[in-house]
Amino acid sequence: MSMEKDLSVTVAGVRFPNPVIAASGTYGFGQDYTDLYPLNKLGGISCKGTTLLPKDGNPAPRIAETPAGMLNSVGLQNPGVDAFISKYLPIAKKEGNVIIANVAGATLEDYKQAVQRLDTTDVDMIEVNISCPNVKQGGASWGVSCEGAAAVTKTVRSVTKKPLMLKLTPNVTNIVDIAKAAEAEGADCVSLINTLLGMRIDIKTRRPILKNNVGGFSGPAVFPVAVRMVWQVANAVNIDVVGMGGISTSEDAVEMMMAGAKAVQIGTAVFTDPYSPLKVIEGLKQYMIDNNLNSLEEITGTVQPW
């Protein structure tokens, strides 16, 4: 039982000590959870989405619960990329393992400038959010067409050599085509899925619960959708895939990896149980022992479809 296992995985050339990454938007810049456990327990942290300039986000309420999940319409409230670089990144780098910046923007120029500024930092990877459903200009308009995804990828690729991870929205007709478009323009890997666009209505007031009317749907309820999309994308591209969407247990993580993910991100589960990423890591270690694995990469993409 006490066997030491190496849980490390390599995604787009970056080594993660374990495949569990805190998902962007659910973990801040890491500092809010250090009372419970050190950040270096996680394989990596994808930091809160940042934009070129600070953003106030959407009006409250921004949160609604759903069966086995939740909606959010935070709307990319963030201190801006400069504050991220000067204030939050140094602490995250010092205390955590792989630190991933997450960038969103309205225009190609926004993406370009934000990534340019990150290029000169010691951030390990840049996740490019072309999938935020909560802001008119939050990137989702880029992520819903192959042309848009290609344009953003090409733009950010031209200003950085850092590993680029394109975060894809599930709110599209064919996510495979979007992933391929990103790959063609030089994305080093893709992460999916961002939230599904959803809505809840208070039947007493006939008002949507979210002030933004609609918001991003996440949590265990979306897991099967995420597994399906990761499987489809992983089968169609040659770059690495990071899977997310409703993962809350190590069994979920294994399933996501079998579908084709090299690493996973955990988001909403942290709200239910802040220790869930650690429990997933422990469960993965046990899975390796039980199945006599030397590397978790041995299970990536090993689903045997009928």
């Binding site: 659910t26 973990y27 809010d32 009372d35 959407n58 409250a60 609604a64 802040p274 220790y275």
Partner: protein, 257 residues
């Protein structure tokens, strides 16, 4: 201030009014740091989001924390089914809490509570010698914690909207009567937004500082997700802050209602 997340043993459970439950849990480590006005974030089995509940009383010697909540849906109903000696999965203590200041023996504070906003006033009342508590409810059968506030030493005025018990009307008039005496060093309020707004305006009229505890739909509870936004005007600057981490207590004059 650190917070903790663990499964804590339930020492006491009581339904103190219809669908309103009082729990006392054993949590010595957390109780040592807990302050009046902070909250606990309770996991409801089978639900994605935890339920934020104000701390009602803190006993640092016994290492216990008490909280009171109303069953409003499936999540709180699930939590209310837990009984003595069961374990409750809680993150605590969270948020900033009320400020407690040195005041002279001649001065008093006023705590204003509305409905399920009354519980945090118990812990706060315990921090001061002279306390006037003005608590409002819809009707007599909704009145809670009147005896608790008296036990803690507060002079209690109960108001009901329908006049079925105590003063007939909202808390604003008794608050104004109290402030007219000129003895009040501080006003604290927790309850529905219109009540908070009235308390802030009344306190301002008598030039008494006021703190209010806000409520918002929350996810993480610890400041990470920025889900529970509120609008605050601080030193002329408009800010969007987090109820869970920057609050839930804010200076009354800073809140943009």
């Amino acid at each position: 201030m650190p917070y903790f997340c663990d499964k804590y043993r339930i020492l006491e459970r009581e339904e103190i009014a219809k669908d309103i439950y009082s729990y006392v849990i054993s949590c010595p480590e957390a109780a040592a740091y807990a302050r009046a006005g902070q909250f606990v974030h309770i996991r409801a089995e089978g639900y994605t989001l935890r339920r934020p509940i104000s701390i009602c009383e803190i006993d640092k010697k016994k290492g216990t924390v008490r909280f009171v909540f109303e069953v409003r849906g499936g999540g709180t109903d699930k939590i209310s089914q837990l009984t003595v000696d069961d374990y409750m999965d809680i993150i605590l203590p969270l948020g900033n809490g009320f400020s407690v200041n040195e005041i002279s023996d001649e001065k008093s504070i006023v705590v204003v509570g509305g409905g399920i906003g009354v519980p945090p006033m118990c812990g706060l009342a315990a921090c001061y010698k002279n306390v006037k508590a003005i608590i409002g409810f819809r009707s007599k059968d909704r009145v809670i914690l009147e005896e608790d506030l008296k036990r803690i030493g507060a002079d209690v005025t109960v108001c009901t909207d329908d006049g079925s018990y105590g003063y007939n009307g909202v808390v604003t008039l008794p608050l104004e009567e109290e402030l007219k005496k000129g003895k009040t060093a501080m006003v604290y309020a927790c309850g529905p937004l219109p009540m908070l707004k009235a308390a802030v305006n009344t306190a301002k009229k008598y030039n008494v500082p006021c703190e209010v505890s806000l409520e918002e739909r929350m996810a993480c509870g610890v400041g990470a997700c920025v889900g529970c936004a509120c609008r605050i005007n601080r030193n002329g600057e408009n800010l969007v802050l987090r109820v869970c981490k920057d609050g839930p207590v804010f200076k009354g004059e800073e809140v943009v209602f």
